[in-house]
């Protein structure tokens, strides 16, 4: 008997099909993994179950009864609780207030009684938390416990956890798994969203794999090896790599990264002793599942993020300690991951093209508009930007925006180019164009660090491939030896190759 059936669920966001006719069935008292790469549609499917999104088509049954879930209120009434990826807590309120919010006993809230009741519930479910503390004073692991208790307090029979371990340190993960196993023994059904294979094999009974919004299959965990799961998750067949291979052995190392460590925005370690070398005329691809330190790596290499320790050398010159402008002047070209971050949407194409180098167009404090305009026209022509010089950048398509960024950075002939996710969200034509430009830069002799979650892209462009997992480089392979399976295993953290 299934406690939850989701049948034929389709959900689109504009053009994008986030869930494509997906079936998902949850048994009572099991821990069921929802596995898939970033963007596979896991969160979307569960937000539908919790009433945060409405599906375009499909039916949902709870305990074999068809139900309509229009809001989290309906989901809660059906015994479904969800711990979202970004915690849904109100920081200035106390733990107890957060837990009873929307589920108070009466109009008047008696603090003492409320706290006692929450404490009793925490006791019953074996969750250690002080009902009186303010949520804003709690660490991430504790906040997660508040979220779980909040769901259980509402008598959840189904608990959805969206990437619960992403924010936890290993000890906290162990504690979480202990709690989950205990709750499972009490009859709770758990949906565990993850892209980490070792966690999935460790804690779950069954696995449902999603890829590009489609259901790949549901299997019993015990029948599957990590590499079989990896293949289901990554699931790419052969790649059409048509690219002349050259010898880079003789080339000098342009970009040398030694023992680089950095923290993420939450102050947790995001990069641990990263060591990489990129030679002139080489593309080094960084493969990895999103959120494993890619963003922090790209930012560190452009001087946007302060590094805790380590060194970054460009052609033998140390860059650590320089400002982002210093990095640029030294010869690092940066194409930001978020296109909108690299540009000012309300300024024109011309102005954006000149933005990083205004001092070169300045004559005694006044901008030389004619020179800026002439240069912009050259670049628009050279980089095939489909826009007029005076169009505001925000009116451009994603592909043309990316071309403006490429033009600004690549026209300077940088010694090293850092490109995180250069083709994310672009259409096929623009993607090809961007990749072509990167290959041209390589042939010119630039050292290129390509960070991408798209394995096709990594395999199509890279001369060597490094895999990042939880902020560490877990393997470096020459392109000739890299297969999707081998990379998939490294990406999932199942193995390390050094």
């Amino acid at each position: 008997m299934y406690i939850v059936d989701m049948l034929g669920i389709t959900k689109t966001f504009g053009e994008l099909v986030a869930n494509d006719n997906v079936d998902f069935q949850l048994r009572k008292g099991e821990i069921h993994a929802l596995l898939g790469e970033n963007g596979a549609g896991k969160t979307t499917l569960m937000r539908i179950l919790y009433g945060l999104y409405r599906p375009d088509t499909g039916i949902i049954k709870v305990a074999e009864q068809p139900v309509e879930i229009h809001s989290p209120k309906d989901a809660i009434a059906n015994g479904i609780g969800m711990v979202t990826q970004h915690f849904a807590l109100v920081p200035p309120l106390s733990v107890a207030e957060n837990i009873v919010l929307g589920n108070t006993d009466g109009f008047v809230v008696n603090r003492a009684a409320m706290e006692a009741k929450v404490a009793a519930a925490a006791d019953r479910f074996g969750i250690v938390i002080d009902p009186k503390s303010l949520v804003r004073h709690l660490a991430v692991g504790q906040r997660q416990r508040v979220e779980i208790l909040k769901a259980l307090y509402r008598n959840a029979r189904v608990l959805i956890l969206d990437e619960p371990t992403a924010v936890l340190v290993p000890q906290e993960v162990d504690a979480l798994f202990e709690t989950l196993n205990r709750l499972k023994a009490d009859g709770l059904s758990v949906i565990f969203i993850s892209h980490k294979l070792h966690e999935v094999t460790q804690i779950t009974d069954r696995v449902t794999v999603l890829r590009d919004g489609k259901l790949i299959g549901t299997v019993d965990t015990k029948d599957m090896s990590q590499s079989q799961l990896a293949a289901m998750m990554v699931g790419r067949e052969t790649f059409g790599v048509t690219r002349k291979d050259e010898q880079h052995e003789q080339q000098p190392v342009t970009l040398r990264i030694d023992n680089l460590c950095a923290k993420n925005d939450q102050g947790m370690p995001a990069l641990t002793n990263v060591c990489l070398e990129v030679k002139a005329g080489e593309i080094l691809g960084i493969a990895g599942v999103g959120g494993n330190g890619q963003k922090e790596l790209a930012e560190s290499l452009c001087g946007v993020r302060d590094c805790a320790s380590g060194s970054i050398q460009l052609a033998g010159k140390e860059l650590i300690g320089k400002t982002p402008a210093g990095f640029t002047q030294a010869g690092v070209g940066r194409i930001p991951e978020d296109r909108h971050e690299g540009m000012v949407g309300d300024l024109t194409v011309t102005e954006n093209l000149a933005l990083e180098h205004l001092n070169e167009y300045t004559r005694s404090g006044v901008l030389d508009h004619k020179a800026i305009r002439t240069r912009a026209e050259e670049l628009i022509h050279q980089f095939q930007i489909k826009a007029r010089p005076n169009d505001p950048v925000r009116t451009l398509s994603g592909g043309n925006m990316q071309k403006v960024l490429l033009a600004r950075v690549l026209s300077r002939n940088p010694k090293a180019v850092i490109v995180p996710q250069p083709t994310r969200g672009l259409d096929v034509g623009a993607t090809d164009y961007v990749r072509q430009q990167l290959l041209e830069q390589r042939d010119r002799g630039a050292a290129i660090l390509l960070i991408s979650e798209d394995l096709d892209e990594i395999l199509a462009l890279s001369d060597r491939i490094a895999v990042i997992y939880e902020g560490e480089i877990v393997g470096i392979l020459p392109a000739g030896e890299a297969t999707p399976e081998r990379l998939g295993l490294l990406m999932s953290g199942a193995v390390k190759e050094h």
């Binding site: 966001f13 919790y50 945060l52 999104y53 809001s71 989290p72 209120k73 809660i76 969800m82 979202t84 970004h86 915690f87 849904a88 807590l89 109100v90 920081p91 200035p92 309120l93 207030e97 957060n98 009873v100 919010l101 929307g102 589920n103 108070t104 009466g106 109009f107 008047v108 809230v109 603090r111 909040k150 509402r154």
Partner: protein, 306 residues
């Protein structure tokens, strides 16, 4: 001297009342995440419609009731614009202020024409519970609404916000509507309710001026008190009790400057300087208290699920 001080305190309570009512109204709105810049206009309309209905019907209480209802309506209009339609809160609020001001002036002109002396009515009587003790009488001879504002509205707002499930919902939708929604709270309904209550209180503040304190309606009757109330909400750190102290500071300096003007001091400064005093004090208080103001985190942000 004692008489001067007792007199001053009594006047302070009176002068603070409309600003206090409006500030508590704004506190409800902002706690739920909506900056209601319609406050000035809602007060103005409340002052006008209260006066108009009282004048035509002869019932002060009917006028007051209609005024409060009009505030509720404009609160709901603000909710429709910002909560349901997701229009920018600054634009909606200022729009409502302009709408209210225009409507009031238009209706006033239609009904009272261009008189040189503003029309007046027999205003509310003050209560005098301690008639026989002169000094205490000076202090406590106040309008019923002043008593209600200080002794009922403020404690009630505090109790509602911090001791009831409704208040918990208001605070949570103003801080993190996603979280409130995920917890099963109807974010839209809570914001509508907070804006409706807030609008009613703002209009009550305006009606206090026309029906009690002045017993008349003039074009300059509100004179920026709505804006001051917004400053007081920030000064009060979105806490009704602290907002009360803010209203008292403004009311106190207003009452003081009136007395300084009429004392006939031969000072080499123009009397307008005194007029500016309450505003200057408000700005200073705001600068001092506003530095560690903790805004409701979701203030100004419309909420959408997808």
């Amino acid at each position: 001297m004692e008489i001067f001080i007792i007199n001053l305190i009594g006047a302070t309570l009176r002068v603070s009342t409309p600003i206090l009512l409006a500030a508590i109204g704004e506190t409800y709105a902002e706690r739920a995440g909506i900056l209601n810049l319609g406050i000035e206009g809602t007060m103005f309309f409340g002052a006008f419609i209260g006066f108009f209905v009282a004048d035509k019907s002869g019932s002060l209480w009917l006028g007051f009731l209609v005024a409060v209802l009009s505030g509720v309506v404009f609160g709901l209009l603000m909710a429709l614009l910002t909560v349901t339609l997701g229009v920018n809160q600054h634009v909606s609020g200022l729009g409502i202020t302009m709408l209210c001001t225009g409507l009031s002036l238009f209706a006033f002109r239609l009904n009272y024409g261009g008189r040189s002396i503003p029309p007046s009515i027999e205003s509310f009587q003050q209560l005098a519970p301690f008639k026989n003790i002169p000094w205490l009488n000076t202090l406590t001879e106040q309008y019923l609404l002043t008593y209600v504002a200080f002794l009922v509205i403020v404690p009630l707002a505090w109790w509602l916000l911090y001791r009831t499930s409704f208040g918990l919902k208001i605070r949570s939708v103003g801080e993190n509507p996603e979280a409130a929604d995920a917890a099963g709270v109807n974010v839209f309904a809570v914001r509508y309710a907070a804006l409706a209550i807030g609008g009613g209180l703002m209009a009550a503040g305006g009606a206090f001026l026309s029906l009690a304190q002045l017993g008349a309606f003039t074009h300059g009757i509100i004179a920026g008190r709505g804006w001051v109330a917004i400053a007081i909400v920030i000064f009060g750190n979105w806490n009704p009790v602290r907002a009360m102290w803010g209203a008292l500071i403004f009311g106190g300096t207003s009452a003081l400057q009136l007395r300084l003007q009429t004392m006939g001091l031969q000072l080499p400064i123009p009397y307008e300087t005194f007029l500016a005093l309450p505003y200057i004090v408000t700005i200073i208080a705001l600068v001092l208290a506003g530095r560690n103001a903790s805004y409701p985190a979701a203030l100004l942000k419309p909420y959408r699920r997808e």
